[in-house]
Symmetry: C2
Subunit: 425 residues, 2 copies
């Protein structure tokens, strides 16, 4: 089924002026313009199928990620798609271990975001050619093939290829029933749409009331507001502060505190977790964890109770597979980060696959949802009864409407041509 | 003394075709072209003094760092130098916590390398205006002012402002004698020049013999060669492999094994360290540790016995100060990473300051040295009797010869105009 040689890679800087409305603002990111480096790959197969991939950014700096995608392009161009997916581990290694480029990473920050955008496009292309949504491509895939997509470098002390295979083989039991269940009921979500830091208290109350009416029973609120289920500190605190503040806020019985401190501080999260778990508060983190090595350690150190994968910061499906499997090994529930631009569209595939083929559990599990910017996607998420309904269209739901891309290209799109002169005045 | 408003920032992509000779090659970086994003800042002070800053790269990807420097430029332009250095902690925080840019870091990878280049230029400018080399500027600085340059965010569980002050105040005792000692004898170095992986065994033997003749008694050799004092694995191994291999190599009694695994794997380094220290082998790491939060944890976890700071990966002098102070608190010797382009020029300032004002010890301490590319710097390092002699010229020794920059600019410099068509054929 897999066909064609990659004949073209284009990447564009697409920005939505969300900072104008305070959407997405938090303690550390006060004025985000939700943006994406948007990659499109084409083949010479003459079937008209394109692979689309994104990585999520906050406005400024998208041009830096675009530049990094261009630096990676030579690893993709002129490759046969069947050679790429036939040795996906090798291809992943090639992208992430380029002898010159790895110095400016490795597997972190800008180059890794660029890697994610490129690999997301490859997965979209592959799934489209197979005529399946990515979650279904993964669910139907033989465990050996799944494992062959994963680079186990630096995680074999926790998860070997054999461990991974064993988990996936166990996951085959009851798979069909769980797939049916997902198709009927969807995957449970929680909403962050009602509580960005830049919103006024009145807006916040109004949106929360509306969310409850719409059937949302789980919401994530920034630390400033005091009625909540999940709290998000957005890396605001040092370790002692996090313990002190959350001990005071324990009376509000939050399910978790998200990102209490630096995303790099594994031992810090472990200290915070040790102090707060006895108070009934879990630690959630992951949206800025830069690779599987960090997740491995968070699990080893018992530093988190909820693991938040991100579809655009880790190295696409490949690296996320390794994290889902490690989480399963440690029996830590995965509750993905979403929102931004397209993060909901992508991550739903991963978490639905996780339920059907890996975790086989919905206990303590929810996937973040934010009701923004879906209108720019060709295959937007479908939410019913506060749940993600499994996508049916082939691909990774990454394709944007060409009109939206053109309008929001930075700095030459229509939207920015109007806004930029106004902002300069 | 400090004067002028930053009126211009330029950044250039400068590459040296070192891969042609196999210089600098190691297990993971097989074909490096030693390169730099080279930043020059100018003021309106009409004194002709420019601040020059670099960050080191390996060829491809330098253009990505250049792009990131441009994204940071608006934080620097039109600022008074006295406002920057008068609240250097605030300025550091502003650069590293830009609400939109921090998403593509934070404080890691490309954006942090770019931050280093910009801040290195600011330190060069400041020191030149004060008429002192950076090491001397630091040595003469009041402990309170030194501390005001450091952002303590995310490290207060290990080092508070008060801790830092106490260490620096203790360091005042005997400072003058140690300064005299440095000026007379210099800081001990070890050489890596003789043993790049791409060199043949014959070349290697010849260079080692020559190095011994030149008075070098300490050398760093890649794992392939078996006569050695320090070994460097360059992140080649997973944790169990590192333990297995080094247990076998213990009979050669290396002082340390450098970068046995992923630079992100704090707990992995701790496991390796626990296994190897009883065999008499220390763990050295740091050249790819991306920020102070990682160093903090390596120290907390007893994961290293030799701490290798890097002058161009961490956020310049500011962040390195915090790491030197944490190392002192844990009594772990600092043995800087150097080589590349300009790394020796910069890091000598930090380690000489460390000896005079912080560690007050030379025990188990050496600074890496590589005899490459110094001819392109206006104020190159001076090595005597295998020691770094303290620089006397004002600034951070970062200024490159304009002729060298022009010739090696990528892709338009004379050197590349000749090489690129040849490489394409």
């Amino acid at each position: 089924m897999v066909r064609g040689r990659i004949s073209r890679l284009s990447v564009r800087d697409v920005r939505f002026p969300t900072s104008l409305g305070g959407h997405g603002s938090d303690a550390m990111h006060t004025d985000p313009d939700y943006s994406a480096a948007y990659v499109v790959i084409e083949t010479d197969a003459e079937d008209g199928i394109k692979g689309c991939g994104i990585t999520f950014t906050l406005g400024k700096g998208t041009e830096v990620v675009v530049c990094a995608v261009n630096a990676l392009a030579h690893h993709v161009l002129n490759k046969d798609l069947k050679d790429i997916v036939g040795d996906f581990r090798g291809f992943y290694r090639q992208l992430t271990s380029d002898g010159q480029l790895r110095w400016i990473g490795p597997e972190k920050g800008v180059v890794h975001l660029a890697t994610a955008a490129v690999l997301n496009a490859v997965w979209d292309l592959w799934a489209k050619q197979e005529g399946k949504p990515v979650w279904k491509l993964l669910v139907d895939m033989d465990p050996r093939t799944l494992v062959s997509c994963i680079d186990f470098r630096y995680i074999t002390d926790v998860l070997t290829e054999e461990d991974a295979l064993e988990i996936l083989q166990k996951g085959q039991v009851g798979k069909k029933e769980r797939e049916k269940q997902m198709l009927a009921q969807g995957y449970p979500a929680y909403t962050t749409s009602c509580a960005w830091l830049g919103y006024s208290d009145d807006t916040l109350k109004q949106l929360c009331a509306q969310a409850l009416k719409d059937g949302w029973t789980r919401a994530d609120l920034p630390v400033k507001s005091l009625f909540l289920q999940m709290m998000d500190a957005n890396q605001r605190w040092d370790v002692p502060e996090a313990v002190e503040w959350m001990s005071k806020l324990a009376k509000f019985k939050p399910l978790w505190i998200e990102e209490p401190t630096s995303p790099d501080d594994i031992l810090g999260h472990a200290t915070i977790s040790k102090a707060l778990v006895p108070l009934g508060i879990g630690i959630a983190t992951g949206e800025q964890c830069h690779n599987r090595v960090i997740f491995k350690q968070l699990l080893q150190a018992k530093a988190l109770q909820f693991l938040q994968i991100d579809s655009c910061r880790l190295g696409s499906v490949n690296e996320n597979l390794s994290v889902l499997l490690m989480a399963k090994k440690f029996e830590i529930p995965v509750c993905p980060h979403a929102g931004g631009v397209g993060l909901c569209e992508l991550v739903q595939h991963l978490i639905i696959f996780d339920y059907i083929s890996v975790s086989a559990s919905l206990e303590n599990r929810v996937c973040e949802y934010v009701d923004h910017l879906h209108e720019h996607f060709k295959y937007p998420v479908m939410i019913q009864r506060a749940s993600y309904m499994p996508p049916k269209d082939p691909g990774y739901s990454t394709e944007m409407k060409e009109e939206s891309v053109k309008k929001h290209q930075y700095p030459d799109g229509e939207v920015w041509k109007k806004l930029l002169p106004a902002q300069e005045n």
